[in-house]
């Protein structure tokens, strides 16, 4: 019963707090990263001024953190939840972990220009007052975990989006540089007769489709090392583009590495064991000594991120995780 009242109270407080504001300052309509409606989540918006003078707006600190490595940032601004104006983040007081639901995050972060406002908000909704440096550190720490959760939700929505796209939308063949541009295009050209969440679902699907990269193996491609048809084992496919621009396919990381002992390459890709997506071979993590066998027996199993590699290692009693540069001849010998 107590749990129930707690949940009900939570729901009521959800309804009571609205993250949109009258007259928001919008440099774009959709979040650059996730494509959500910026006005709807205005109180957690962040704005970035780039070194070339361009402005990019994000729905949340989470999306900002995701974009950060690729941006030449000059200054970051955040919305003052009291006045609705953008203020430099250094001046902001963040209330972190209040009962207001977070945007793209389980921990909400609402910023205020004045300490009194922040304290008043804290009194009503709880939470802790922090400065930007601390908040950013916290966000960066939480990022990987949250990203995984968000990706799940986006996967689900993309499934839905696929249906909607096939039934209710005109075809889109273009590629887009950002989610925001994709959504602008959808809205401006009336591609779909959809709104809100359903439009977001279509956008997520198209975005995912644009970024989904699997190694596509031609039917007659043979592995140069073992001579087997690679297309029979698409989950294990690896590919290199050599200096002449030829594409060579391998049925496993092991054979690719054997080949590369005497050859050089321009680009190399391997397939992530879980998702099957193509990843840059030099940036992947490889698990050695697991009980999973590839088409050629013992294998180095590639993963795009370290967490996945670790949990795989645990589940399959593997021995070690290697990065690209650490794979030596001795390691290859262990695979014989």
């Amino acid at each position: 019963m107590r749990k129930l009242t707690l949940i009900m109270w939570f729901v009521v407080s959800l309804l009571a707090f609205d993250k949109s504001m009258p007259n928001p300052t919008l440099h774009q309509k959709w979040c650059e990263i996730c494509g959500m409606n910026l006005a709807k989540f205005y109180k957690s918006n962040h704005l970035v001024k780039l070194k070339d003078g361009k402005m990019v707006q994000f729905c949340s600190l989470h999306c900002l953190v995701e974009a950060m490595p690729k941006l030449q940032i000059e200054k970051i601004y955040v919305v003052d939840a009291k006045s609705g104006k953008f203020i430099p983040v250094e001046q902001a007081y963040y209330v972190v972990g209040s009962k207001v639901p977070g945007t793209m995050s389980k921990v909400s972060k609402i910023a205020f220009a004045k300490l009194e406002d922040a304290k008043a908000f804290q009194k009503q909704y709880g939470g802790k007052i922090m400065r930007f440096d601390e908040v950013l550190k916290l966000q960066k720490k939480m990022f990987a975990k949250e990203q995984r959760r968000i990706k799940h939700k986006q996967n689900k929505m993309a499934m839905m989006g696929k249906m909607l796209y096939e039934k209710r939308c005109k075809k889109v063949d273009q590629k887009f540089s950002s989610m925001a541009k994709l959504k602008d295009y959808l809205a401006a050209n009336k591609i779909c007769d959809l709104k809100g969440k359903k439009l977001q679902a279509v956008a997520l699907y198209l975005w995912k489709k644009q970024h989904s990269k699997k190694i596509i193996v031609p039917k007659d491609a043979k592995c140069p090392i073992c001579g087997m048809f690679v297309a029979k084992h698409p989950k294990w496919a690896a590919m290199i583009v050599d200096n002449q621009g030829h594409k060579l396919y391998f049925d496993g990381v092991k054979d690719m590495l054997k080949y590369l002992q005497n050859h050089s390459f321009k680009r190399a890709y391997v397939s992530d064991y879980y998702s099957g997506q193509a990843i840059n071979a030099t940036k992947a993590y490889y698990v050695l000594g697991s009980d999973v066998m590839g088409p050629m027996g013992k294998e180095l199993i590639p993963f795009s991120n370290l967490d996945d590699a670790k949990s795989f290692m645990q589940a399959h009693r593997a021995k070690a995780i290697f990065e690209w540069k650490d794979i030596t001849k001795d390691v290859l010998k262990k695979l014989e």
């Binding site: 799940h152 996967n155 039934k167 679902a201 998702s275 949990s311």
Partner: protein, 385 residues
């Protein structure tokens, strides 16, 4: 051509014997074909259902019975590696006394979509608010028969009526699904089954790499010891078991039929009567060669066996898929009397027809030609005497 006319005339001379053989063989082939067709059809139906299923199911059990669980159990699973998506389900059976059947009422999140392709079709095409439902075509027919044209009254466990608008129908590959599934918004499903707001019936999971399903299932089991974690492979095995049991019953029938066939063949093979020896002798005396005699006998028996094979196969198709296999079907589908009746799924398997053809036809041909050959090599003078 003349040979064929001659062999037909020769068959006609012994018409009662040959007609009897024709009927017996037709019946035998009909029986065997029907059995395999029903089995194949039900198997196809099961596989169609199975292939659309998610990789892992997580159900909470208390004292061995299924219980609802809270929705916050989803999150730790989502954080595991190798998972494509995790979805909550709210569903249950709703007994409809007027027709004496159980409907599956399935809650669907009309914002996020569902784990099933054909449910998503529904979600994509429906723009409806409030209390509404989308039903399989079979369910709609059943409701119409009971005068529910555009709404239906669910009776909640506390006795309240919940009036639900019939917003549309959906089609399904699986006849079972189409005649028993009702899709409603998740909150409405909770109200129909009187569940709390944050409760769910079970969790379904799709993994990124199907090979990893069993490992992930084990991890989930460790995470929630009070749950039962079922993978798609487990389901396949248990379906297969149930199916094999039913097939075993059929096999018993089948062995009987086959035994009868062999007895018949043996009987035919060993009965080269004096009459027949004499006939062959006369033909040879008229100047026929051994191969001519054998060709004649081959044509004779081929006419009988091929025509009865064709009749048997066509009749079994008619019996199973047009008449819906009265009597025989009950052996297989006896396990769910309360479920609405479903038509058998049309199914054609060339290899099945060829197998039966190869078992039956060459055997019969051999059984008739070999004794004729034995008779044909006897000296005509001796044979006629």
């Amino acid at each position: 051509m003349k040979m064929l006319a001659f062999s037909l005339a020769s068959l006609w001379r012994r018409r009662y014997k040959n007609l009897a053989l024709f009927f017996i063989f037709s019946l035998l082939i009909f029986l065997v074909m029907s059995i395999f067709l029903i089995a194949g059809s039900i198997k196809k139906e099961l596989l169609t259902t199975l292939n659309t299923l998610p990789d892992i199911y997580v159900q909470r059990t208390v004292g061995g019975r299924l219980m609802p669980m809270t929705i916050d159990r989803l999150e730790p699973i989502e954080e595991m590696a190798g998972i494509e998506w995790v979805m909550p389900r709210v569903w249950g059976f709703y007994y409809f006394p007027a027709a004496g059947v159980n409907f599956s009422v399935i809650g669907v999140d009309f914002d996020l979509g569902s784990y099933k392709q054909n449910y998503n079709d529904v979600v994509a095409s429906i723009e409806e608010e409030g209390n509404f439902m989308v039903v399989g075509e079979g369910v709609r027919r059943m409701l119409n028969r009971h005068y529910y044209k555009d709404f239906f009254n669910f009776i909640a466990p506390n006795g309240d009526f919940i009036k639900v608008k019939l917003a549309g129908t959906f089609s399904s590959d699986s006849a079972l699904e189409s005649s028993d599934t009702i899709l409603v918004p998740m909150d409405l499903a909770r109200r129909i089954f009187a569940m709390d707001e944050n409760m769910i019936t079970d969790i379904v999971i799709k993994v990124q790499n199907p090979k990893e399903a069993s490992i992930i299932a084990k991890n989930i089991q460790n995470l929630y010891p009070d749950t039962r974690v079922i993978t798609k492979d487990d389901l396949k095995v248990s379906y297969q078991n149930m199916f094999d049991y039913k097939s075993g019953l059929f096999l018993a029938l089948f062995i009987g039929a086959f035994f009868a066939f062999f007895v018949l063949v043996f009987e035919k093979a060993s009965s080269v009567g004096k009459e027949q020896i004499k006939e062959i002798g006369i033909l040879k005396a008229l100047g026929w060669r051994v191969e001519d005699v054998l060709y004649l006998k081959f044509l004779e028996s081929a006419v009988v066996i091929v025509s009865s094979f064709v009749v048997g196969v066509v009749a079994s198709y008619y019996f199973v898929f047009v008449l819906q296999a009265p009597l025989l079907k009950n052996i297989f589908s006896g396990f769910s009397v309360l479920k609405p009746q479903t038509p058998l799924m049309p199914f054609f398997d060339v290899s099945l027809v060829i197998t039966i053809f190869l078992i039956v036809v060459p055997l019969y041909l051999a059984a008739t030609i070999i004794p004729s050959w034995r008779a044909a090599v006897i000296d005509p003078e001796e044979a006629i005497r």
